[in-house]
Symmetry: D2
Subunit: 293 residues, 4 copies
Amino acid sequence: MRIGFIGLGLMGSAMAGRLCAAGHEMVCYNRTREKTTALAAAGARVAETPAEAAAGAEIAITMLGTDEALRAVALGGDGIAAAMPPGAVHAAMGTHGIEACRALAAAHDAAGGAFVAAPVLGRPDAAAAGEIAILVGGPEDAAARLRPLFDIMGRVSFSAGPAPETAAAIKIAFNFVLGCAIEAMGEGFALIRRHGVDPAMFYEVLTDRLFDAPAHRIYGDIISREDYDRVGLTARLGLKDANLALAAAEAVNMPLPSGNAWRDRLLGAIAHGHGARDWSVVALEQARASGIE
Amino acid sequence: MRIGFIGLGLMGSAMAGRLCAAGHEMVCYNRTREKTTALAAAGARVAETPAEAAAGAEIAITMLGTDEALRAVALGGDGIAAAMPPGAVHAAMGTHGIEACRALAAAHDAAGGAFVAAPVLGRPDAAAAGEIAILVGGPEDAAARLRPLFDIMGRVSFSAGPAPETAAAIKIAFNFVLGCAIEAMGEGFALIRRHGVDPAMFYEVLTDRLFDAPAHRIYGDIISREDYDRVGLTARLGLKDANLALAAAEAVNMPLPSGNAWRDRLLGAIAHGHGARDWSVVALEQARASGIE
Amino acid sequence: MRIGFIGLGLMGSAMAGRLCAAGHEMVCYNRTREKTTALAAAGARVAETPAEAAAGAEIAITMLGTDEALRAVALGGDGIAAAMPPGAVHAAMGTHGIEACRALAAAHDAAGGAFVAAPVLGRPDAAAAGEIAILVGGPEDAAARLRPLFDIMGRVSFSAGPAPETAAAIKIAFNFVLGCAIEAMGEGFALIRRHGVDPAMFYEVLTDRLFDAPAHRIYGDIISREDYDRVGLTARLGLKDANLALAAAEAVNMPLPSGNAWRDRLLGAIAHGHGARDWSVVALEQARASGIE
Amino acid sequence: MRIGFIGLGLMGSAMAGRLCAAGHEMVCYNRTREKTTALAAAGARVAETPAEAAAGAEIAITMLGTDEALRAVALGGDGIAAAMPPGAVHAAMGTHGIEACRALAAAHDAAGGAFVAAPVLGRPDAAAAGEIAILVGGPEDAAARLRPLFDIMGRVSFSAGPAPETAAAIKIAFNFVLGCAIEAMGEGFALIRRHGVDPAMFYEVLTDRLFDAPAHRIYGDIISREDYDRVGLTARLGLKDANLALAAAEAVNMPLPSGNAWRDRLLGAIAHGHGARDWSVVALEQARASGIE
């Protein structure tokens, strides 16, 4: 299948690499061209613009960090929605907001194509191993055509129905539950530290049974060791996720009180210079808020 | 060993039953006498007062729901601290606050005995099966004397060091992390519902890997089915836990922003008549706050 | 002076009417044309587009409700920044965000004009009477040229210095302090009501001395009588203000915890159907949150 | 009239001084005896215990800082409730909680006396000048007997009805509205500072009209000058007030979201060593939370 792949960060490179290795014909694009080198070596053609990557492709996949980047790549006269052949499908696999998904779907509809939101769960190493989970929202036939590619890129797909923004809502809510769990852990660890308890001991109790799963093992370990330079997601990107959640909630007139608490600690952490550290650095900000420095 | 056991609610009965079955000599007390029937049938003697249950015991165990109950049972002229023989040990296995633990330790010290805080993790069925985890804070020799009993009652013990209140802090922080995780899940489920996502599908995504542990499986399932009458802990008792956490934090001048969010939803749930339902009913209150009724 | 005036809502009409009455030559524009009737009768010319209103004007004044409307009117090929003669000044007198002010200043600079942010304090009746206060941020000479017009429109001007966004920040912070004061009053009134106190009596105590000023008199009276259909600002517009405050704070990595509380009650009020009532309806939502319906 | 006066802090001394000067027969008590010197010089007799001060008095007035102090002075075998003659009235003029008022009313009822909660609004200088406002809750005849004394001590009395705790609720809610107004101002000032606005200019705008009243003038001035050592009420006592509000709200199952924001900043300020500074130091904590140090 002829695939245009746009956005070759850590996640995108790993995902595109798997498609390339499976024999698909790939034209790729990345804003900073040097990130295309590995994929070019694996046989992909490198385009000069997003539109060039998408022109002639049956499937265009974007893996972009922000809604702004997605809109810039897809909309307008030089966007991929206009460049793609009729009947082609655009799968946006980054984490995007409700409004952006709606705007993209409308643009592709107007251009005679189809839009599928397919955000993923998993880190770059999982992407390289084909172990990510994929949340799929979009028209059924378009989703069906993507299925073989999802099988190459991921371990499992979850169907979120025909509206792309429902897949976005699920991803946003997932990150929200995760971010708030980290925030709560951060508060809990700060509390026991100030009461003289060894963080390693609290970690052991926490993950003994009820929280014996990766979310609490991974982040509990970072927090317990104060190892915030082991970065999975930066605090700045965490703030992007928090804002997506609050915007998705505002769209349905919903307060998210735990989200406020989480977002405020992210803001404080960034204000104190920790924006590039792991988003679990909210635990450090919590400690600081109570005079532990 | 001669054991006085005070407080025969669901948890206490299960724990005392195991000690009785293991052949220990038991004198038990409960405020409402009918709850002593099963234990009496199993060979325990029933006392008329807490002091009578504790008099002559090498070990007194309390399993009480509130700090007020603990203080009423242990302190003052007719309390068990005064009634117990010199050298005896009182293990308080309920969830109690920092201040209460300090007051109890002082009283037992003054009376020539010892106080150990030994709150537990686990539900009544786990207690009946000897599967609970026990957090042990108190003087080393006192803790050592309790060890054989803990081995009968629980699956594992964690040593929290010589100060009873550190065990209390760990239990309080554990419940805090759990309560806040439930609150965040409740917010996440409300968010996806308002965006037209099937809660069962979100549950599946959530527990697929990162949250594949009992905390999120148990409470995610209740929330997804809105099955709040499947009560593990009531919202009212959840509020007690939230207040213990905020008090423990105030003792060290620490704000707990996620705790505020959690506590406020508990208060709202209680205000709307759900105080006796499962504490995950915060999810219902969250839904209500955004107009889902 | 030749003035282009764009945006004739309640505030804009009152302000433009005063300028017209003072003998200034006015070309006005409003999206819905019927709102221009009164001004036309007073001698203003009615333009077909914003650009037509601004072309040839020494001063363009906009009084628009949102940043989106301001950007649509001012930026791009058919915007007033491009249409105004070199050296002309655009005064944006609506409440706008930091980013929007920066974008406008850059656009006018590039076009050889000047941009002044001049948000106002006061309601339509104050605007009609020339009693509003005007916060002026922008280049000194541009501000000086606006001074005679400000003297006609307002009671007092405050100079916020050469950067337009500082005037915006002051207006946003002012509305923030006001909105949060209303929210706190709403919580206080709900509290005393649930304790059986007559709201009118609490109003009397509150405004007896310490809060004897319009903010607490006006909104305390509405809340005490539950007279939320006496609308000064709608809850929906209040939410816009709350969002402006949180965005201005995010721009400097600042959490605004009172702002979260306020915004959440606005969202709840809107979710429960009160979006068009006065923004003090947060007091009703607060009452509802605790079971008073 | 024979009056027992207990609690001679800044407020109590000023109030007792006025009663003494008006010719009332006064027996006074204070825990640290040196604070009784001035009153003794003015003709008051100094008692060795609270009970001695109250024995034989028609009216006992307490002006105490905490519920604990009030309970210690009034309840139990050596408390003033037991010591006062039948038909005597105890007016508690400090700021006390709902529960404490109920407990006091019950104790005095049982002892054949009457209890009136009469918290005051105003600072020591207002108390010295007889300019405080008095909130009166209690049985009508008891309140009537206190009226002549209230007329000497205060500028105005507000009748809160026959239940003492309603007066307490009003005082608590008043302090809540004030504390939250200060918190919101603190957030607003931090916001404009980070946007480069002169705090003195924001103060001028704020108090120009809408907030032209003592609450915003007094605290806006302290915050604008960062003059937190001009102490009216300490942050520690502010925390007491915040806790009273949250407890009064919990008693009716009510969340107080603005109260959480306020309380958390007080806790943070205390954690950072500012517990003895003015309670408006929450503004400093807010600034610190965003990296202004």
